[in-house]
């Protein structure tokens, strides 16, 4: 005779600890096992979190390094460009100096002429390496002295110096006086 038999397949509810310790861990080792589990959990958590932080820090560093290397190549290109522009502006400056040389020479001559007192005449202006040699005639020493004082005060010239002065006898066309030579250094603009 068949009698229906019923079975209870459901296990009684139990805690995780019970499940873990159900594998016959001796009671005296349970504390150390718990400590080991905690240590493993701690180490794993620390490993994961710190790893994530390090990964992020390295990512930032790599991104900045990439940006920096791209910037360096741009900077090198700009340095080449700067050199080219520098050469160009040097040429432009030189051209401007050349173009202004006539005005500068004319201004120096005009300044020289206006510095001479009424009783002094210039007979020659000869350029030399450092400035000009000025040959002239003066009626007397006062005229020569005034010339030196005025030239000394002129912003276009530096340190006029007397090279020679010689008494000059009267001729049919010129009165008696002095023949002199001065050296004047030109001030570099």
């Amino acid at each position: 005779m068949n009698v229906p038999v019923s079975f209870d397949y459901l296990r009684p509810s139990s805690s995780l600890e019970d499940v873990l310790f159900s594998c016959r861990i001796p009671k005296e080792m349970r504390a150390s096992c718990r400590a080991l589990c905690c240590s493993v959990l701690f180490a794993l958590t620390a490993w994961v979190l710190e790893g994530a932080r390090l990964h992020r820090a390295l990512q930032f560093e790599r991104a900045d390094a990439d940006r920096y290397s791209r910037q360096l190549s741009a900077l090198n290109a700009e340095r080449v460009y700067e050199k080219r522009v520098q050469a160009l502006t040097d040429l432009d400056r030189r051209v401007r100096t050349i173009a202004e040389s006539g005005t500068l020479a004319a201004r120096r001559l005009a300044a020289l002429a206006s510095d001479l007192p009424g009783n002094v005449w210039v007979t020659a202006i000869t350029p030399d390496g450092a400035g000009v040699m000025l040959d002239g005639q003066a009626r007397d020493l006062n005229g020569l002295s005034d010339t030196l004082v005025r030239l000394n005060a002129d912003p276009f010239f530096v340190g006029p110096s007397l090279m020679s002065a010689q008494r000059m006898a009267a001729t049919a066309v010129t009165p008696p006086g002095l023949r002199f030579t001065l050296h004047i250094a030109a001030r570099v603009p």
Partner: protein
């Protein structure tokens, strides 16, 4: 078991310490890179100033650069010289190209010099104006030196002075292909 737990704990602590040290190193490196990047940005920002300087230089140079032949430059210079002398009532006595005069500064490769010595006779004031005007022309001209003397011709003494003017004509040779488009 206790020992293993302690070992794992210590391993965790050491892992934290080593990661922290690596993080600190990476932060320092990142800060340094950021500082350099900021400083480089300032340098790169000067590119605009450079472009303006380049434009100004080209504006100047293109006005005088024709790349013309030396003979054409000299011809143009002579025509202008005649006009200036006539206006100032000066007499041009001689024109000697390639004389002892040399440019005061060595010319660059972009400037081809041609020294010329001019002897002009006339009154002081006219000579000064002439010297001033001689560099104001399309052909780039520089006055190297001026020598003034009482006229060597006795009959011309009343007319004034002899001026020996050393000038240099320059041909500006620039590569127009380098001119910026704007």
């Amino acid at each position: 078991m206790w020992l293993l737990a302690v070992f794992v704990f210590v391993f965790g602590v050491r892992a934290i310490a080593s990661h922290e040290s690596a993080i600190a190193k990476a932060s320092v490196a990142t800060e340094e890179l950021t500082r350099r990047i900021e400083s480089n940005y300032r340098t790169l920002a000067q590119a605009e100033t450079l472009r303006r300087r380049e434009q100004l230089a080209w504006d100047d140079l293109l006005k005088i650069s024709g790349g013309q032949q030396p003979a054409i430059s000299v011809a143009e210079f002579l025509r202008r010289l005649k006009d200036m002398a006539w206006r100032r009532r000066l007499s041009v006595v001689s024109i000697i190209p390639g004389d002892e005069s040399t440019p005061s500064k060595p010319a660059s490769r972009a400037l081809a010099p041609l020294p010329i010595t001019i002897l002009v006779r006339g009154k002081f004031r006219s000579l000064v104006r002439f010297i001033q005007e001689i560099t104001r022309q399309r052909t780039l001209t520089g006055v190297e030196s001026v020598k003034l003397m009482l006229s060597s011709i006795p009959s011309a003494r009343t007319a004034g002075l002899d001026a020996t003017i050393h000038v240099t004509l320059y041909r500006v040779i620039v590569d127009a292909a380098n001119v910026p488009a704007n």
